[in-house]
């Protein structure tokens, strides 16, 4: 191995996922379906349909005498536990590891006033862990996921105290999701989730942290070229999969499986 390292090569290489053409279900938790992961491509914030939003959620962990890396380690370990009721996250075996799938089973909302309650439309999918280091990690969405883009989770020091942050760069993946985000409580639900997670994190450290949120529309345009993604809509596909469950049981019974 050469002693000469190119810029950016070196120890940082292992922090990123390896490039893959399509995602693989791998170690899927029991009871979930891989239909919205297996064979799907991971996509970024530029490959979706709706308006591109950058949202930043922060909570100051005043008085917490832990390093950023220690706080992040605890956050990673409890990531699923900090989710609101109905929002089930499944960490991969081995924890937050680049390239692995974090599975998500989270019903989508259909009624704006009830954004803080679990939704009604079943949605099983996941996100690929794109990057992870001691003080941050990021996830990237697959095709068909409600949003296309990234979420970054980080802990850093600011004015002498730790700050935990969630930052999303994402847009609705298809026209149905865009409608849901704008008119069915989807955006409010999404914001509720990350405020809840940061509140739980601060409570974990005994801090009554106040979560702040800023949103910025980076691109107000709609990308009609991606309207066809509606056929990959994970909410619709999960719903159809669940509706067809008795039929699959019936057919498997007669096939002797």
């Amino acid at each position: 191995m050469s002693n000469m390292e190119q810029p950016g090569e070196n120890s940082h290489s292992g922090m990123w996922a390896q490039p893959v053409d399509t995602l693989s279900a791998g170690d899927m938790p029991e009871g979930l379906t891989a239909i919205n992961i297996q064979g799907r491509r991971a996509i970024g914030a530029l490959q979706g349909f709706g308006q591109l939003w950058k949202k930043t959620y922060k909570v100051r962990l005043s008085g917490v005498n832990r390093s950023s890396a220690e706080v992040m380690q605890i956050w990673k370990e409890n990531f699923a536990l900090f989710q609101p009721p109905g929002n089930r996250f499944y960490l991969p075996s081995g924890g937050v590891t680049p390239g692995k799938i974090m599975w998500i089973d989270s019903p989508l909302p259909v009624a704006p006033p009830f954004y803080d309650k679990p939704g009604l439309v079943p949605m099983t999918s996941g996100v690929m862990i794109l990057y992870a280091d001691d003080e941050s990690f990021s996830v990237m969405t697959p095709e068909g996921f409600p949003v296309s883009g990234w979420n970054n989770f980080s802990v850093y020091e600011e004015d002498g105290s730790r700050v935990a942050q969630v930052q999303s760069f994402e847009r609705a993946s298809d026209p149905i999701y865009e409608f849901g985000f704008r008119f069915m409580g989807g955006a409010a639900r999404q914001e509720f989730i990350w405020v809840h997670v940061l509140t739980q994190l601060s409570n974990h450290f005994g801090v009554n942290g106040q979560v702040t949120m800023t949103r910025e529309c980076l691109d107000p345009s709609i990308q009609w070229a991606y309207a066809g993604r509606v056929w990959q809509n994970a909410g619709m596909r999960t719903t159809l999969y669940k509706v067809a469950t008795p039929l699959r049981w019936f057919m498997n019974f007669f096939r002797g499986k």
């Binding site: 810029p7 940082h12 990237m140 970054n152 930052q167």
Partner: protein
């Protein structure tokens, strides 16, 4: 432990294009300077923006998100964004994040400028 290199950026006009020379580590601490640099670029109203990664030592996912934000702003105004000076590792990152589908990648400034001259 590797010594950290604070981010800096310089803006210069190069023919039809405007180049942002990026230096150091592109992470959350790069945000303010990168936004300032982009604002400087806008004053030239260029059809093409070049990002020079030759002297970038590190980029994390927050840094990639910053580049996405810059790209989104440029695309709103029909500007092209070209990139050059990427190491093999950075090219891989651009492929994983699928940024490579939206930004033309060149090995060096000359090849990027040649294409920029042909654009518009």
């Amino acid at each position: 432990m590797a010594k950290t290199q604070p981010f800096s950026a310089q803006v210069r006009q190069t023919g039809k294009a405007v180049t942002i020379d990026l230096h150091g580590e592109v992470d959350s601490f790069a945000s303010d300077r990168l936004h300032e640099a982009y604002a400087e670029v806008e004053q030239f109203n260029p059809p093409v923006i070049l990002l020079d990664f030759s002297d970038v030592s590190y980029i994390n996912s927050t840094g990639i998100a910053l580049i996405v934000g810059l790209l989104a702003q440029a695309r709103k105004l029909q500007r092209k964004v070209y990139v050059y000076g990427l190491s093999d590792h950075f090219i891989t990152i651009f492929q994983i994040t699928r940024l490579a589908e939206f930004m033309s990648i060149y090995p060096n400034e000359d090849s990027a400028l040649a294409d920029a001259a042909a654009f518009g």
